[in-house]
């Protein structure tokens, strides 16, 4: 080959590589978006400085749901309706943001021996824990899932590439994937989303979704939908964990709560009163 032609090809190749790499390099440097976490927990957290900013959390009082049969289902219906969560009718494609489990499935690392009667049948609401140190955020290669400054672990469905690494990383099984088009219909012609909420988008197939702590409601001063449904029975207490005067902080000071799998250090924002 001509040495001139070869030189041209070498320069063209290098230019192409620079042209592809430059935008992403600029993106990172200028936007400072390189690291996914919003700088929450530093290394060596024992006795760290007092946390600043909001940290939304929730206390789930399981007794209240046992005393009010059907309440848990109402919470789930509220959540799934306003967020256009589809029901595919089979376990394989299942999408759920909020659901009920029994004690041995929510707390498998706790003892199951010699437990009181009635524990097995208690309905325990399960959802994303919005961890303080979320492994899913660490795993996401595009920052499609990220931790907001108010503690909520959020999802950007525009950026999600559907690799499901976050689902593998989540230690709580809180995430669901859209294996099919959620706007489709089943074999009998019934749509998967029974009643569309025109104020909230659906998702598309190929992205992961989960509870978003009703970010869109919090932004306009409302409490999460499930909390509102359970507010009369006081089954769910929602608030700022970093505010010592909030209702949730008072509840946590006076009641003994447990968390899911605390040993792995994710620091969930969800607390359970059994």
């Amino acid at each position: 080959m001509d040495s001139k032609r070869r030189d041209f090809l070498k320069i063209a190749g290098l230019t192409a590589i620079a042209g592809i790499a430059a935008p992403s390099a600029f993106n990172t440097l200028l936007k400072g978006e390189a690291l996914a976490s919003a700088g929450h927990a530093a290394a060596g957290d024992h006795g760290a400085a007092a946390p600043t900013g909001k940290r939304y959390g929730m206390v789930i009082d399981v007794k209240k749901f046992t005393e009010n049969p059907g309440l848990a289902e109402q919470c789930i219906t509220a959540c799934h309706t306003i967020h256009n969560v589809p029901d595919f009718g089979n376990k394989k494609d299942e999408i759920k943001w909020l659901w009920v489990e029994s004690y041995d499935h929510v707390f498998p690392e706790h003892s199951q021996d010699k437990r009181p009667d009635g524990l097995k049948s208690m309905p325990i609401l399960t959802l994303c824990n919005h961890c303080d140190k979320p492994p899913c955020v660490r795993a996401c290669p595009t920052k499609a899932t990220f931790k907001k400054k108010n503690g909520i672990v959020a999802m950007d469905y525009h950026r999600c590439i559907g690799c499901r690494f976050c689902m593998a990383a989540c230690p709580y099984g809180a995430r669901s994937f859209n294996w099919r088009d959620p706007r489709g219909k089943d074999a009998n012609g019934r749509p998967f989303i029974k009643a569309e909420n025109p104020k909230f988008p659906t998702r598309m197939r190929g992205v992961v979704e989960k509870c978003n702590f009703c970010t869109e409601r919090l932004a306009i001063g409302q409490i999460p939908a499930c909390v509102e449904v359970a507010s009369q029975a006081k089954g769910l207490i929602f608030g700022d964990l970093n505010d010592p005067n909030s209702e949730i902080s008072q509840v946590l000071k006076t009641s003994f709560t447990i968390q899911r799998n605390p040993a792995i250090g994710t620091h969930p924002s969800l607390f359970y009163i059994i």
Binding site: P135, I161, F165, F177
Partner: protein, 389 residues
Amino acid sequence: MIEKALKGSKGYWVWMLFLLSLMGVGALSYVQQFNYGLGITGMSRDVTWGVYISQFTFLVGVAAGGLMLVLPYYLHNYKAFGRIVILGEFMAIAAIVMCLMFIIADLGQPMRALNVMLFPTPNSMLFWDMIVLNGYLILNILCGWVVLHSEYKGIKYPKWIKPFIYLSIPWAISIHTVTAFLYCGLPGRHFWLTAILAPRFLASAFAAGPALLLVIAMVLKRVTKFDVGREAQDKLVTIIGYAAMLNFFFLGCEFFVAYYSQIPGHMHTLDYLFWGLGHGDQVFNNLVPFMRASVIMGLTGIGLIFYSRAKQCDGLLVLSCLFIFISFWIDKGLGLVLGGFVPSPLDYVTEYVPSFQELGVTVAVWATGAFILSILYKVAISVKLEKEA
């Protein structure tokens, strides 16, 4: 040089057409998947990675196996590998291309795949995987092609390629370490959360990669005039045998830790894989025959491979290499990836069976890898045979 792939015997063209037809069938399956969604596979909410990612994980190992040829030849001047090194580098290229294809096939939104490059996220292992896999692909294309091209021109390869060749040596370790880091850093999956995962990956890679290469080399000896040489064959037997033994030693360590400590989180997945897991009123054991076969084949293969060398029997050599390759394919492909999802974080057991379309796409990707490999090998062998004549 690539024009050498356009001339071949009738057998060559029949083989290429066969591969193209497999690729076509798989392409149709992928179109179905693209239109319906990943729900067309056997994956579910609990088992979110299936055949595609398991093949990707295994093939990264096969690509890293090329290191076992490059290291002795370039770093330690082991001249006996002179004919086989290029085969290793080209096999790495085909394997990495297959890896990338499997990853794209597995994405829910493949059109957004470039987001991993547009939004770099250094804390994500998938980001680093993207970098090391593409880097290794470029390195192997560069080194393999430049050295082969120099041979084609009848001169020694240029000095500037040496740093790239040396770079490919730790880079090969890095690709499989990063892939292992995808798994072993996730706090919720106890089966994967072990420090020995990366060493185990590397050990099985250094056995499976060269084993496949040896099988292909024996096939090449039969269908072409290309013979890698007795010494290279025998040395590879050593490498494959010891790497395989190391992998089984590591597996034994896993067994010890799980069953001596009796910690349920460690034991349950091994129970599921090797004995069947009783959960609720059901017993889940659809992987048990595969995992047991994997251990038996692997151990048999190790014994056979050394025996085949003692008896200088090529047939037994091929058989033993196939045993080892298939054993590690099951171990890493089925056992490792699927095992991590059982039991789920909510302590349920969901089993996984790949669907027809899923297998179609898988076969097509393997066929594409074989297609690329055939083209590259045709070029390499033609050049080498011509030059040595």
